[in-house]
């Protein structure tokens, strides 16, 4: 039972969701990487700048102490804090705090340095290590506290703390990297749309195939389907796997369609065969019953009357003998018709001579029916591979039928000739003729066009069926052409194998 696919279970939906999820995850990954990279960039830049501040500051402190002839020690540092602060301000460092070597504050230019001793950078500076604390706050806040021990000529003379606001650097970095992020998002959007359209294009034909197979399966239960529906499948010209799939599908449907038709034909044929068989048995029963009834009737009459009625006795005996003879012949013919392979040994026979012999034999009977056999023989030798008595039987059957059913005085025309590699013998007569329906059944056993007349003429209804069978045994064929009230022509054809072999030699 075909089940319609829900949209949520479709490949298009699932793949779209997965691509979307992968894309969002990728964007988040890129965003995370961008932030990490941004912080790393800022840290690198700040580190570089703090190293520069460190070397500059020490240089400035030393310069100021030397220029002022101050002692190069803690006392000189404490004495010239103002000059140092001014010099550092001139150098661009506005938020600074000066401490002595023990960490006691000497001068501070802003309130950023309250609780400085709680900061890690200050604690490191007290241990004679320069350090900075980088703080990222909310609202893109980025500030740095840098604290360095001041060493001149190998002697630590004080500590300086700097406060720097890196909001602009942060924003600059963020703008640069967010630009990259925007490009990534845009690129993802475009890629997503392209992938979506590609998936849709790929899945579309599959869905179309699904719909068509659904229609086919729905109609299949009604005993057939519309193969013209395949024309709706417009992707079979594609050269990719989808095109191949659709072509294969169409081919498969066509094969199924052909098989379906064949099955229907076979079914009709079987039905027809069954009907023929039934009719055959009916005919056999009927044909056997008629003489048996005659025999039985006359036997009963003779039994009742005995020799009292001599005429009836002799007349009855004659009828019994006649009907039993006919019955015997019919049984023989039935056996001959069914006995396949009995006459398998073939020999070369002159079919023209056989025809002449049969014509001579049958000429008497033709005269009896006030008719005449006219033989027209095209010069040549007509040798075939076959059984002469069987061939003669065919010729007798055909000529006998022509005599029986031909109109008196019109003549029966026989012709033997070679045509298209075949030896043809035609038997034509003029009489009542047959219509197409009669012609289509004429080779069936016990079929008679005119049943009463045929029976009167002692016909068993098996002659043409036997003739057809004999021609098949000789790899030949039998054809009939007739029109009501006109000519009836029977033609038998034998393969001209002997003549061809000689010709080749």
């Amino acid at each position: 039972m075909y089940r319609k696919n829900r949209f949520f279970n479709s490949i298009l939906f699932r793949m779209s969701i997965w691509v979307f999820l992968i894309g969002i995850t990728s964007i988040l990954l890129v965003m995370y990487a961008v932030k990490v990279q941004m912080r790393q960039n800022i840290e690198e830049q700040v580190t570089e700048e703090m190293e520069s501040i460190q070397s500059n500051s020490e240089l400035y402190v030393r310069q100021i102490l030397m220029i002022n002839n101050a002692p190069i020690d803690g006392s000189g540092f404490e004495q010239y804090t103002y000059e140092i602060e001014q010099q550092l301000n001139r150098a661009g460092y506005s938020d600074i705090a000066l401490y002595n070597a023990d960490g006691h504050i000497l001068k501070s230019s802003s309130d950023h340095f309250i609780n400085a001793d709680k900061r890690d950078d200050f604690q490191f500076a007290r241990k004679r290590q320069s350090a900075f604390t980088l703080h990222y706050g909310k609202n893109n806040q980025c500030e740095v506290y840098f604290t360095m021990p001041v060493s001149v000529m190998g002697q630590q003379i004080g500590i300086i703390s700097f406060y720097q606001d890196y909001y602009e650097l942060y924003m600059r970095e963020w703008e640069t990297l967010s630009g990259m992020l925007r490009v990534t998002v845009l690129a993802f959007g475009i890629i997503y749309l392209v992938i979506w359209f590609m998936i849709r294009r790929m899945v579309g034909p599959i869905r179309q195939l699904g719909h068509i197979s659904s229609d086919i399966s729905e109609h299949l239960k009604d005993g057939g389907f519309d193969s013209g529906m395949m024309e709706k499948l417009k992707v079979n010209k594609r050269k990719d796997e989808i095109g191949e799939l659709s072509r294969n599908y169409i081919q498969m449907v066509q094969v199924i369609d052909e098989q379906f038709e064949k099955i229907q034909e076979d079914r009709d044929h079987i039905l027809k065969l069954w009907n023929s068989r039934q009719e055959f048995y009916n005919n056999v029963a009927h044909e056997l019953k008629t003489p048996l009834t005659t025999i039985s009737g006359y036997a009963q009459l003779i039994e009742e009357n005995g020799l009292g009625d001599e005429e009836l006795f002799y007349n009855g005996i004659e009828h019994i003998l006649q009907e039993s003879t006919r019955l015997h012949r019919m049984v023989i013919q039935l056996l001959e018709m069914q006995d396949k392979g009995r006459y398998t040994r073939m020999e070369q026979i002159d079919v023209a001579a056989a025809l002449k012999s049969v014509v001579d034999t049958m000429q008497m009977k033709a005269r009896r029916y006030e008719n005449q056999l006219i033989l027209d023989e095209e010069p040549g030798d007509y040798i075939i591979e076959g059984q002469e008595d069987r061939v003669r039987q065919v010729l007798i059957n055909l000529i006998d039928n022509a005599i029986k059913y031909g109109e008196a005085g019109k003549g029966i025309w026989l012709r033997i000739a070679r045509h298209r590699g075949m030896i043809q013998i035609a038997v034509a007569n003029q009489g009542k003729g047959m219509d197409e329906e009669e012609i289509s059944h004429i080779f069936e056993p016990f079929y008679r066009v005119d049943k009463e007349r045929s029976r009167e003429m002692g016909s068993s209804g098996l002659g043409l069926a036997i003739s057809k069978k004999i021609m098949e045994e000789h790899h030949g064929m039998i054809r009939v052409k007739s029109e009501p009230g006109g000519y009836t022509i029977f033609m038998i054809c034998f393969p001209d194998t002997i003549h061809e072999e000689r010709g080749e030699k």
């Binding site: 190293e51 460190q54 400035y60 310069q63 001139r90 150098a91 490191f124 290590q129 706050g137």
Partner: protein, 411 residues
Amino acid sequence: MMSGEGRRIRKHLTVQGVVCLLMAVLLCGCGAQEITKTVVLSNGTKEEHTGINIKNIQEYTYEEGVIDVTWSDDAIGSLCVVWFPGEQGMCRKIDVYQKTVSEEIVFEENVMGYVKAAPGGKYIVYLNMVDDIQELVVYEVETGKREVYKDWNLTSNVDEVMWSGDGTKMFVRMNIVDGEDGTEYVYRFDMESEEKTESQVKIPAVSGDWVEMFPNEDGSKVFVEEYFGEEEMEKERKYIESDEWNIGIEGNMAAWAGNPEMSGTNKRGWILDMETGGVEELDSAWLNIGTPVKYTEEGLFGTDGDKLWIARGPLGQTPGKRLLEEECMDICICEKGDHVFLIEREAGTNHLQVTGILLEDGEIQEYQVLYKGIDGDYEQAFTGMDDHELVIQSVGHKEDEWFTKTTVLEY
């Protein structure tokens, strides 16, 4: 035992869970949050420098318009400042440590020009003019003695006056006109000799228009370089072909003139031996030092844009080697050639910065910033005779007053 469907559902849920978890983690990472990080700087910058070590820094500011400044080699070390208050030429000695003027003298009432104080501050040379005769006068600061060393009429001209690095020899480059063209001469006067002896060497220059001389520290040798154009090159060829100039280098010069690579180069140089009067021709293009700036014991220094070159002695045997590439305003090199000072603008400010470079056998040993934050416009820089001071002169403007500032870095 789990069924196939169960396993499929579980796998599906696991994949979904992982994706959701990853997204949640990423969303948390990408969200705004407060981060504090402390970074400890390496102690690499704390290492003691092994190069030029500044021992003292002194500054002195004065309001007078200064003509020339030199550093005296007396015991205390003082500035000798020459300036013109009106027509007078005055010299002032200043103790920069005590910030006091120790001596002030008037050395000439009517100075024409070319005022140059000798390193060490013992002599001041200047140009004077008496009755259309120009005189090159040397004033001896200690004795107050004034002596004319050279005089000439208006047909000749003094092109350059310089002192040797030790301040004992004075070099005068003159263009003596005889006939249509002038001839370039370098005269050397020895201040320490009794007779104030004079030696002269004729420069085989073509035009004399673009000639520069660089005496070495003790004044025994002078590097001279001439720049000339196509016309002068043609004259040079004619001169080479004549018998007039025959000191055995015709072949080299002819080869030089015929060399297509060299034909576009329009400069050449000589080493003048002032003791013997010898002239040694140098292929300046081959030396490859750009524009010469200093002739020292270490070799000949030159600059080419932002590049500093050195051609180590004996000159003419090894080509110049690039020492460094650094954009700077000026380069000051000591007389021995082992201390190089770059005067440059401090990044992002209008202040001057001094970078010191210590050389050993023509190789940079140490490169370090020595001083930052000199206000004003740069004027000049020179080293003391004993190679222990770098004197930087700058001009500034404060409260509508111009001032001259001298910064002395003692190393």
